[in-house]
Amino acid sequence: MCFLRRFVSELLFFALFFLVLFPFAIIRRLFGKKYVSKKFDKTLPSYWVIKENNWNSKDFFNKQN
């Protein structure tokens, strides 16, 4: 029973990763979506990302995102 549960769970996560997540990622990447930068970019003057602060609204602290 334990083995069966483990097998099904492995299968589910395998399917989720390779049949859902991976094809979705490939399509998005083909259309130019950049999820994470993986390499140096010598053309950029700086790697800092400007932060937009939004904690003046009380909502900021109420949300989980």
Binding site: F13, F18, V36, F40, P45, Y47, W48, K51, F61
Partner: protein, 609 residues
């Protein structure tokens, strides 16, 4: 306005109570559960904080969690989407944890709080901060500054791995960030892993190892692993790392770059890994100094606050002080994730509830980081009796003089006084103390008492008023977060140029060899009479006997064990090691007088870190 701050679910969970901006209590969960870096919801720490602050659950106005779970999940998803088809192993491990539990952190937090007090409506009180805002708040709000530049750096929070902010009064503005997967903390952790130490706990070992090596690999690191811009911002070449898509920090390409496989933790540390440690330390310092120079020029602000795990790199902090661009540098003592609980609570106080911030320009608000539980003399005696300890009670003055005298005779003393420290350092509340003049003390403490690697240095506690006589340092370092060299007049000439690697340990380098690292550096703690009067009195008494206003101060634990919390923890640690004397409150006991049946095999008691 009473705020409960919480950090949990990654490592070093903690709880903090802040009342109208005053920090009433701060406790790490690991100290109570006795599990090092315990990440579980800090239920014990919350209870302890409420006991200390004498508040009931109903009196808590807000509870704030130190980061935003959905943003973190989004980052995780983006990483898998960005790296797939790589990353299945990591996905297989992380997905069940997130889908089954971590994604529902709000529910979990509310559930845990409800078990503590079912009648309170916690849902209306629960708030969420951002990870790096929590770090920035923990660095700025307790500092004695009205205005400061804030630099936070760690492994990763939600997206940010480093942030640059300005703090003014009761507000913080984060100006810019470096985003995952580019992280100075993770770069350092990758080298920690490569050198055979545990990630998230062995980083300070790598820092301690660096002075034994030469920075031979700096160019390779600069050329292949990290690109640093003029303003100090940086990116990593992810093709050498595995932390985004695998279960390790580095990959084979990384190993090929340096020509050696990762060190197995059971192998001795070779000269190669000492050089590796020196190299990564040099690179990290170079990057941070570039950032610091740039922000100093950009903002012209004279105060700097630091937090985040990277800020625990006290060698780096010492270099920031040394370049002198900032008049004042303040580092949060609980710079790791445990400090996130404090930062979140302070952010809620000032930025959500808009309580006006009161600043004492002479003193920070951390109260010496002595924010944990304390035990009354009656409690101590009762606890010690319960465990079968044989002790004597001495009056304050006699106790101090007797302890100082025992220290000067070469005894190693467990020192348990007052409130427990918050953060990774023992600062005279839960410390093991010894005579720094002893040539054999470092080796003896490492091998017989701490059961840890022989290369690791010990830190000095020095009376604040004597610091510049003994060290090249002219400012306070109350939290042991600055490294400075022993002053020239206390150094001894050695044949250091001929010694290599661990052989350097044999050289006697100064009048205080037990706390002088192989490059003459020391991680200094200055002790202030007002902040820690009892510890100050002990060092003063030792100074009268020895003409040396310094003691060796190491945390009261063995390798892999959280710092002791209760008198019983202290007695167990005392009976499980070669410590000679234990002082708890006004009770003093020597090992030779204890029942030998109470001896413990402590060496294998805790999983090594």
């Amino acid at each position: 306005m009473n705020i409960l701050g919480i950090s949990a679910y990654y490592h070093d969970s903690a709880a903090v109570i802040v009342s109208d901006g005053k920090i009433l209590a701060a406790v790490q969960e690991e100290r109570l559960t006795r599990k090092k870096h315990d990440a579980s919801f800090p239920i014990n720490a919350i209870k302890q904080c409420l006991t200390i602050s004498k508040l009931s659950y109903d009196e808590i106005d807000s509870v704030i969690f130190y980061e935003k779970p959905f943003l973190k999940f989004k980052r995780l998803c983006s990483t898998y989407l960005g790296f797939s088809p790589l990353g299945f192993k990591s996905f297989r491990k992380a997905a069940p944890i997130w889908l089954g539990n971590k994604l529902f952190q709000k529910r979990n937090i509310l559930k845990a709080l409800t078990t503590l007090c079912p009648k309170t409506n916690w849902s209306d009180k629960l708030l969420f901060s951002e990870h790096h805002l929590s770090h920035a708040a923990s660095a700025f709000f307790p500092s004695p500054f009205e205005e400061a530049v804030i630099l936070t750096m760690d492994g990763v929070g939600e997206w940010a791995t480093a942030s640059l902010a300005i703090g003014r009064g009761d507000c913080i503005d984060i100006l810019k960030e470096i985003h995952f997967p580019h992280s100075l903390g993770l770069l350092y952790s990758a080298f920690t892993y490569y050198s055979g130490f545990k990630v998230n706990s062995g980083e300070y070992k790598l820092m301690g190892l660096a002075p034994y090596g030469m920075p031979k690999y700096v160019d390779i690191i600069r050329r292949h692993l990290i690109d640093v811009k003029e303003d100090g911002s940086f990116r990593l070449d992810l093709s050498y790392f595995n932390y985004c898509s695998g279960l390790t920090m580095i990959n084979k390409r990384f190993e090929r770059l340096f020509g050696q496989p990762a060190r197995n933790s059971s192998e001795p540390v070779s000269q190669f890994f000492m050089d590796i440690a020196a190299s990564i330390q040099a690179v990290v310092e170079e990057v941070v100094l570039k950032i610091v120079r740039n922000i100093s020029e950009e903002t012209k602000i004279k105060n700097l606050c630091l937090a985040g795990g990277v800020a625990l790199n006290c060698v780096m902090n010492g270099k920031i002080i040394k370049i002198g661009l900032f008049e004042n540098v303040w580092v949060q003592p609980a710079s790791g994730d445990s400090g996130g609980a404090l930062g979140a609570a302070l952010a809620a106080t000032y930025m959500y509830h808009r309580i006006p911030r009161k600043i004492d320009s002479d003193r920070d608000a951390m109260q010496g980081a002595l924010l944990g539980p304390a035990f009354s003399q009656t409690q101590i005696e009762q606890d010690l009796r319960e465990v079968g300890a044989y002790f004597k009670n001495l009056d304050d003055d006699v106790l101090i003089d007797r302890t100082a005298s025992l220290l000067s005779e070469g005894n190693v003393v467990g020192w348990f006084q007052g409130r427990m420290e918050y953060g990774p350092r023992a600062l005279g509340g839960r410390s093991i103390l010894a005579d720094p003049r002893s040539v054999e003390m470092q080796k003896s403490l490492n091998l017989k008492i701490k059961y840890r690697e022989s290369f690791r240095p010990f830190a000095p506690s020095i009376l604040r008023e004597h610091v510049s006589e003994w060290f090249e340092l002219n400012c306070e370092s109350p939290y042991m977060l600055l490294v400075a060299n022993v002053s020239e007049k206390h150094r001894k000439k050695t044949d250091a140029s001929e010694a290599m690697g661990l052989d350097k340990l044999r050289e006697v380098r100064s009048d205080i060899p037990a706390v002088t690292h192989v490059d003459y550096s020391a991680r200094v703690q200055t002790v202030d009479k007002q902040v820690n009067p009892r510890y100050h009195a002990l060092i003063s008494s030792f100074s009268e006997i020895s003409n040396c206003p310094i003691l060796v101060n190491t945390s009261f634990n063995v390798r892999g064990e959280p710092i002791v919390c209760t008198p019983q923890d202290a007695f167990k640690c005392f009976m499980g090691t070669e410590m000679d004397v234990l002082v708890v409150g006004n009770c003093i006991m020597s090992k030779s007088e204890q029942d030998s049946a109470l001896r413990l095999d402590y060496k294998n008691h805790f999983a090594l870190d």
